[in-house]
Symmetry: C2
Subunit: 434 residues, 2 copies
């Protein structure tokens, strides 16, 4: 029997092949060497299966956990096994041995391994379910975000991350030596996705954004992955909120369906529908915080404590720990934000979920004259935004949109306290490796 | 009748609503003002529909092409119309007027507009099918790439684009001022996707890569979008080639199905299956070029002319203008490339498609000792790659992978001569705006 790649059986297919000889390739995930019999649990990207041989036959292989191996064996029905079968090993070949001193093994529970070691040995940590599952969920969040929007006639766009200036006037930018000039890493695809509305009406982009913010908190990264969308022909931010409500409800239902076993092994309850998540005005939120918790220090924005308290209030009143906060003070929002009434509020919202802000969105100004006035009102010079403002004369619909931080969303879905555990290779003030 | 966003009808749904009053929102795509009757073709993200009113009733709206409008009207069956119906306008409201002097209109054929104007007025150009269709195809290529791989048990990963050093020893990197140190924009996710194999066995990433190459040719960009995949437990580069053959055949069939009308309006034939695309050894390619075309100057690599000629040879022999060239000289490939035999060839391939290289791939070295020897052989110091080499002791399977340039692939699919026409916001030596 040839043992090549093309004849290899994925673990998932083994239960359908009882009685057959199969070729498996994978990692030694667990290993139990008894006097007469050796049990090798082999893991590949589709699951784990127990393989069995007489210990004497495997002795010269010096098998260790996390070695990569090829096994030729015969599938035998075994009702005690999780898959309903085992594999009797006929031949075993070590493809590439793991080192003799690993900091941990992929079958270990890594919750007691520090975050630094989990990052330093990323591939080994991510091979374990305790760390790797967050990234499987992240991939499914990405896929379902794109699926939902594509079905709603959104076009995926790819926009440049090398820009001549910032979208908000030039703070917290990383400069790039771009041949003989300076350029910057984009803080957001904001301008490009607004231009995208003028082109395609509905657009989304999934990509990195960059913030040169010196703090290194459990919720901030200098490079994060943003799920951006922008939609034309809306009446107001409520249309964007409704879209996000349906979007996240879809995404969460997909995670519940595709990853039920994964959520269960992390002790996570199924993700909620956001159908009943309330929309509270910003002023109303301050009122609620004051009357329920005596919070008095907030004026123009919420803080992490307020985000937690508001989610708890939403949960007790509406059964879901999520709330859309609408109508933030305009002074705290970017120049392109549309005003909400004339009392200084913005058509701008945050979504707080599980105690953390995971989205900022809103309606944008769509007329050139409004944008010029807004820039001047903030002491910015419209001439510095000339190439952007020009796009508002090409037939720009009323529009709005939002951005979801993928790492934060993943952390909330998985119950992780630090966004670094939802980032394969996090970047912060002090970290640029691995 | 309310005319809000939630009651708005997308053009695609209009034929199902004959006899109903509907609210449309979109752009004035075409406009024909006769003495008594005015015809307004309204376009939204789902299509175009003809709307009709007495000219006198619309006169004070001063309608122009590319204005954004809302129309309240009644759907009337009309067998002469493309959709089988028209809309009798009852009310029309201009949502945001286009400027009075546009460089072109979105309904124009932009093939006679220069590439610079198409880039400068990107949203307006992309609103036209002549420019925008390439991006609709691009989005479908992205979606089908991810679908195929997800169904084959690949995990999508997101890796950092801010790195401490290059993957190939430090040339052509863009430096970033990263707080008080220098970092660089990643040239490739190569190292991270190899680490990804050690974690998840099969990974893909779609994201930007950066090359500080000063030339500004029709096929090079300083920032491009790379479709990367890496797969573990292979036997050789032929397994990667077979995977790409199936991957692209799937992607092309999806484009043929989802975008048949689009391809037709650009005069593009359906995309081919790559089932019969040949695999030719590099030496065999030089031989073929010599005997068919007298080409004698090539030694270590192909050039653009050779890529065109080889595709033409493949087309005449196998009916498809695509060829996998395998076994490039090792000296021209990165240090991590596995050798093919002992005569200086590499387990490395390119895919030439329609006359252009759109993929580089191959099998990689997977043992630490091999990598250290390869680095030393190129005068590089293994200590400079310590954090990368460490990952090869954690249980690294034999592996390989490939990268497809999304802009090049899009250009080949659409028959575009310049990759800039397949890039919303291209970056090159001289361009960082818009």
């Amino acid at each position: 029997m040839a043992t090549g790649f093309s004849s290899r059986a994925l673990v998932r297919s083994v239960p359908e092949r009882i009685g057959d000889r199969v070729v498996l390739r994978g990692w030694v995930y667990r290993l139990r060497i008894l006097a007469t019999t050796t049990f090798v649990i082999v893991r590949d990207c589709t699951g784990e299966v127990q393989c069995v041989a007489a210990s004497a036959r495997l002795r010269d292989k010096a098998l260790k956990l996390d070695d990569t191996v090829e096994i030729l064996g015969r599938v035998r029905s075994d009702t005690r096994a999780r898959l309903g079968c085992e594999v009797d090993i006929e031949e075993l070949r070590v493809l590439n041995a793991a080192g003799h001193k690993l900091p941990f093994n992929s079958s270990a529970d890594l919750s007691e391994v520090g975050v630094e070691a989990r990052l330093e040995y990323r591939p080994l940590a991510a091979r374990s379910d305790s760390v790797g599952d967050a990234f499987r969920v992240q991939a499914a969040l990405l896929a379902s975000f794109r699926e939902f929007l594509t079905a709603r006639h959104f076009t995926e766009i790819v926009t440049s991350k090398i820009v001549a200036s910032g979208t908000e006037g030039g703070t917290n930018l990383f400069p790039i030596e771009y041949f003989d000039r300076v350029a910057y890493l984009a803080q957001s695809p904001q301008f490009y996705k607004e231009h995208g509305v003028a082109a395609f009406e509905r657009v989304f982009e999934t990509g990195h954004v960059y913030r040169a913010e010196p703090h290194a908190s459990s919720r901030h990264l200098t490079e994060y992955y943003s799920l951006d969308l922008e939609i034309g022909f809306i009446d107001g931010p409520e249309d964007v909120i409704e879209l996000e409500r349906e979007l996240l409800t879809y995404m969460f239902a997909e995670i519940n369906e595709r990853h039920a076993a994964l959520l269960a092994r992390h002790g996570r309850p199924p993700l909620p529908s956001l159908e009943h998540a309330p929309v509270w005005e910003f002023g109303e939120c301050l009122e609620r915080l004051r009357s329920a918790h005596g919070t008095k220090h907030l004026r123009d924005d919420l803080d992490p404590e307020a985000e937690r308290l508001l989610c708890a209030l939403a949960e007790s009143e509406h059964g879901v720990a999520a709330v859309f906060v609408l109508g933030f003070p305009l002074s705290n929002r970017p120049f392109y934000t549309a005003p909400r009434g004339s009392a200084g509020a913005a058509q701008s919202f945050d979504l707080l979920f599980g105690g953390l802000e995971i989205t900022t969105g809103g309606q944008r100004l769509h007329e050139r004259a409004q944008l010029e006035a807004a820039l001047r009102g903030r002491g910015l010079d419209p001439d510095d935004f000339a190439s952007h403002l020009k796009m508002f004369e090409l037939g720009m619909p009323p529009h709005g949109g939002l951005a979801i931080g993928l790492e934060r969303l993943t952390a909330q879905v998985m119950g992780l306290a630090n966004v670094r555990d939802a980032t394969l290779y996090p970047r912060d003030r002090y970290r640029v490796t691995p």
